[in-house]
C-alpha cells in the first residue's frame, strides 16, 4: 500500500567491465509513487536499470539495494522478475526463432506459477493478450512474429508495454520508453502506464523529455549525473531542466 517500501538503494557503486559507472547512488522509492530519472547521455541511467535487473558484466561493488523485503543482489534475474521487478529496455533485444506469443506466455506463466496462480492455457492466454494488444493498438500480427525481430523502434516499445501490462509488476523501471515514439504512440503508451498506476505499485521513468511527463505526471524527479543523483525535486524540476539544461548542475 501507499508509503510501503518498494526500493531502497543506499550508496550504490557499480562497474561495467573495469569502469566505475555508478557511485554513491541513493534512491528510495515507495509504493504508489512515480519517479522520473533524467540526466545527460552516458550518466549511468541505463546502467542503473541493468544493475537492478542483474545483467552480466554489470557489477555492484558497494552499497545495498533492498527490493520489497529482499536483498536484491541475492536474487537471480528471473527471481527478481518473479517477485515483481520489471525493466523495460532502452533497446529491446531481438530474439530470432522465438515467436512473440510463446515468449509472452512463458513469461506470464513463470510469474504466475511463482505466485501460486494457475498458468494460463493457450486459449485463455490468447484471449487475454488480444485484449491487451488492442488496448495498445498493436496489430495481432506482432504476436506471431519473432520477438522484436524487425520491429520498428516504436513497435518494440509497444511490445515492452505489452509485457508490462501482462506481467503487472510491483516495480516497473521504464528506460526511455518514450524515445522514438510519434505523438499518437506516446499517448497510447502513456495511457498504458497510467492504467498501471496503483497504490501498491511503483514506476521509475527514465526519460529525456518533458512530453512524457505531461502525460504521466511524476511525484518526484531526479537528475542522475556522472553516476550519482545530484538533484531531486517535484515535477517542476523537469520543466526547469527543459529550460536550463543540465549545464548548471
Amino acid at each position: 500500500m501507499i508509503g510501503e517500501k518498494m526500493l531502497t538503494i543506499k550508496n550504490l557503486a557499480a562497474t561495467v567491465g573495469d569502469k566505475i559507472i555508478l557511485h554513491d547512488l541513493n534512491l528510495t522509492v515507495k509504493a504508489g509513487e512515480v519517479h522520473a530519472i533524467m540526466g545527460p547521455n552516458g550518466s549511468g541511467k541505463s546502467t542503473l536499470g541493468n544493475v537492478l535487473a542483474g545483467r552480466e558484466g554489470y557489477t555492484a561493488t558497494a552499497g545495498t539495494v533492498e527490493f520489497l523485503d529482499h536483498n536484491l543482489f541475492a536474487l537471480s534475474t528471473e527471481e527478481r522478475a518473479r517477485k515483481g521487478l520489471f525493466l523495460s529496455f532502452q533497446y529491446p533485444i531481438e530474439i530470432p526463432g522465438v515467436t512473440n506469443i510463446y515468449f509472452l506466455r512463458a513469461a506470464v506463466n513463470a510469474v504466475r506459477k511463482s505466485r501460486g496462480d494457475e498458468p494460463y492455457d493457450a486459449m485463455d492466454f490468447i484471449k487475454l493478450i488480444k485484449e491487451k494488444a488492442k488496448f495498445l493498438h498493436m496489430d495481432e500480427g506482432f504476436l506471431y512474429r519473432d520477438v522484436n525481430k524487425g520491429f520498428s523502434g516504436g513497435e518494440k516499445k509497444r511490445n515492452e508495454i505489452l509485457q508490462l501490462l501482462l506481467l503487472e509488476p510491483k516495480l516497473a523501471i521504464l528506460d526511455e520508453i518514450d524515445s522514438g515514439l510519434d505523438i499518437d504512440a506516446l499517448k497510447i503508451i502513456s495511457d498504458g502506464i497510467n492504467q498501471l498506476r496503483r497504490s501498491d505499485r511503483a514506476i521509475i521513468l527514465v526519460t529525456h523529455y518533458q512530453r512524457l511527463l505531461d502525460h504521466v505526471i511524476p511525484d518526484y524527479v531526479h537528475v542522475l549525473s556522472k553516476g550519482k543523483i545530484v538533484k531531486s525535486g517535484g515535477p517542476e524540476l523537469a520543466k526547469e531542466l527543459e529550460q536550463t539544461g543540465y549545464a548548471g548542475l
Partner: protein, 360 residues
C-alpha cells in the same frame, strides 16, 4: 577409402569386428492409396538397374560374404502420389555386433511426383552397423521429396550413401534429420545431368553426448541452367562432434548455374566441435554461386532479456535452441512430416516438459 573425406570420421574399430548377419530384411513400408502401376517390391523380384557399389569400406571378414537386401520403388510416368510412402527400418533385437546391409532403388519416370520418408530406428539393438545404399533416378520432369529421419541407437554406426541421377527439369528435394546414432556418416551425392534440373538439400543435425554426425554432400552441375540450394543447420552439445562438408562442382560447359549453400551451427558447450567446409570447384565462368558457414553460441543478451521476464534460464536456452532448429522445418511443405520432425526435435531436449507445454 579416400582418407581426406574420412579425415574427421573414424570407423576403424568398426572394421575390426566380426559381424553377425541377418537373413531377412523387412522394413515396414506404409502407404495409402497407391495408384496403379506403382511398384514396391523386394529388390530380388525387380529387374535391377546397374548397382553402384557402396563406397564404404568393408570389414575384411565380410569380404565377398555380404548379401545386400533391399527394395525397389517404381513410380510410372505421369503418376502423382498424393500421400507419402513411409519406410520404417527398425534395428530390432540384434546380437552384438550385427551388420545390416540394405539397398533401396527408387525410380521415378517422367512427370511423376512422389514423397518418401525413410525412418531409421532401433529397438533393443546396440552395436550394429547399418550400411544403407539408396539409388535414385529421376526421369525428365520427375519430382522426389526425400526425407530421412535418422534415430539410430547411440551405440550404432550408421552409414548411408545416397546417389541421385537427375534428368532434365527434374527436382530433388531432400531433408535429412539426424537425431540419433553413435557414429553417423551420410553421403548425399546428386548429379544434375540435364538442363533445368534442380535440387534442394536441407538438413538438421542434433548432436549431443558423444555422438558423431558427418554429412558429406556433393552436388554436380553437369549441364547448363541447373540449380541447387543447400541449407544445413546443426546443434552440437556436450562432447559431441559434427562434420559438414559440402562440395559443389560446376562442369566447364555448365553455364548459367545458380547454386547456394549455407551451413549454420550452434555450439552449446565448450567441448562440442564442428568442422564445416565448403568445397567449390567451379569450372564455368557464367555462374552464380554463393556459400556461407557460421558457427555461433546462444545469445547472452537474448537469455538475459527472457530472464528479466521471469523465464527460467534453462527454458530461455531451450527456446533459443528450439527456435534456431525449428526454422529449418519451415522448408517442409508436408504438414504431417513437418509435425513428425517437430516431435523429433522436441524429444532431443532432455527435460523438455515446459518447452512442450508452451508450443502448439
Amino acid at each position: 577409402m579416400k582418407t581426406e573425406t574420412w579425415k574427421y570420421t573414424n570407423i576403424k574399430k568398426w572394421l575390426e569386428r566380426d559381424y553377425q548377419t541377418i537373413d531377412s530384411y523387412a522394413p515396414i513400408i506404409d502407404y495409402n492409396e497407391l495408384p496403379e502401376g506403382v511398384i514396391i517390391c523386394p529388390l530380388a523380384d525387380a529387374s535391377k538397374q546397374a548397382d553402384i557399389p557402396s563406397p564404404y569400406p568393408l570389414p575384411q571378414a565380410l569380404e565377398g560374404k555380404l548379401k545386400e537386401q533391399g527394395f525397389f520403388i517404381y513410380i510410372p510416368k505421369n503418376v502423382v502420389l498424393k500421400n507419402p510412402i513411409y519406410i520404417t527400418d527398425i534395428a530390432a533385437q540384434l546380437d552384438d555386433p550385427t551388420v545390416l546391409p540394405a539397398r533401396f532403388q527408387i525410380l521415378l519416370e517422367e512427370n511423376s511426383v512422389a514423397t518418401i520418408v525413410h525412418k531409421f530406428e532401433a529397438n533393443d539393438a546396440n552395436h550394429y552397423w547399418r550400411r544403407q545404399v539408396t539409388e535414385i533416378n529421376l526421369a525428365p520432369n520427375a519430382q522426389l521429396n526425400y526425407y530421412q529421419d535418422q534415430n539410430e541407437a547411440p551405440t550404432s554406426l550408421h552409414t548411408h550413401y545416397i546417389a541421385v541421377q537427375q534428368g532434365r527439369d527434374s527436382q530433388f528435394n531432400s531433408f535429412t534429420l539426424d537425431n540419433g546414432g553413435g557414429i553417423v556418416r551420410t553421403d548425399l551425392h546428386t548429379k544434375l545431368h540435364d538442363v533445368n534440373a534442380t535440387c534442394h538439400l536441407n538438413g538438421l543435425y542434433l548432436v549431443k553426448n558423444k555422438q558423431h554426425v558427418d554429412n558429406h554432400t556433393i552436388i554436380e552441375h553437369l549441364a547448363p541452367h541447373t540449380q541447387s540450394s543447400e541449407h544445413y543447420k546443426g546443434i552440437v552439445a556436450d562432447q559431441a562432434r559434427a562434420v559438414f562438408n559440402g562440395r559443389i562442382y560446376v562442369a566447364p560447359h555448365a553455364q548459367k548455374v545458380v547454386s547456394e549453400q549455407h551451413n549454420e551451427n550452434l555450439l552449446l558447450s565448450k567441448q562440442a566441435e564442428i568442422d564445416t567446409k565448403p568445397e567449390l570447384e567451379i569450372y564455368a565462368d557464367d555462374v552464380q554461386c554463393a556459400h556461407g558457414a557460421t558457427v555461433g553460441q546462444l545469445d547472452r543478451d537474448a537469455i538475459f532479456y527472457m530472464t528479466t521476464r521471469g523465464i527460467d534460464e534453462e527454458l530461455a536456452k531451450q527456446l533459443l535452441t528450439y527456435g534456431f532448429a525449428h526454422e529449418m522445418l519451415n522448408s517442409i511443405s508436408h504438414d504431417e512430416i513437418r509435425a513428425l520432425f517437430n516431435t523429433q526435435l522436441l524429444t532431443w531436449f532432455s527435460n523438455n516438459q515446459e518447452l512442450e507445454d508452451l508450443l502448439p
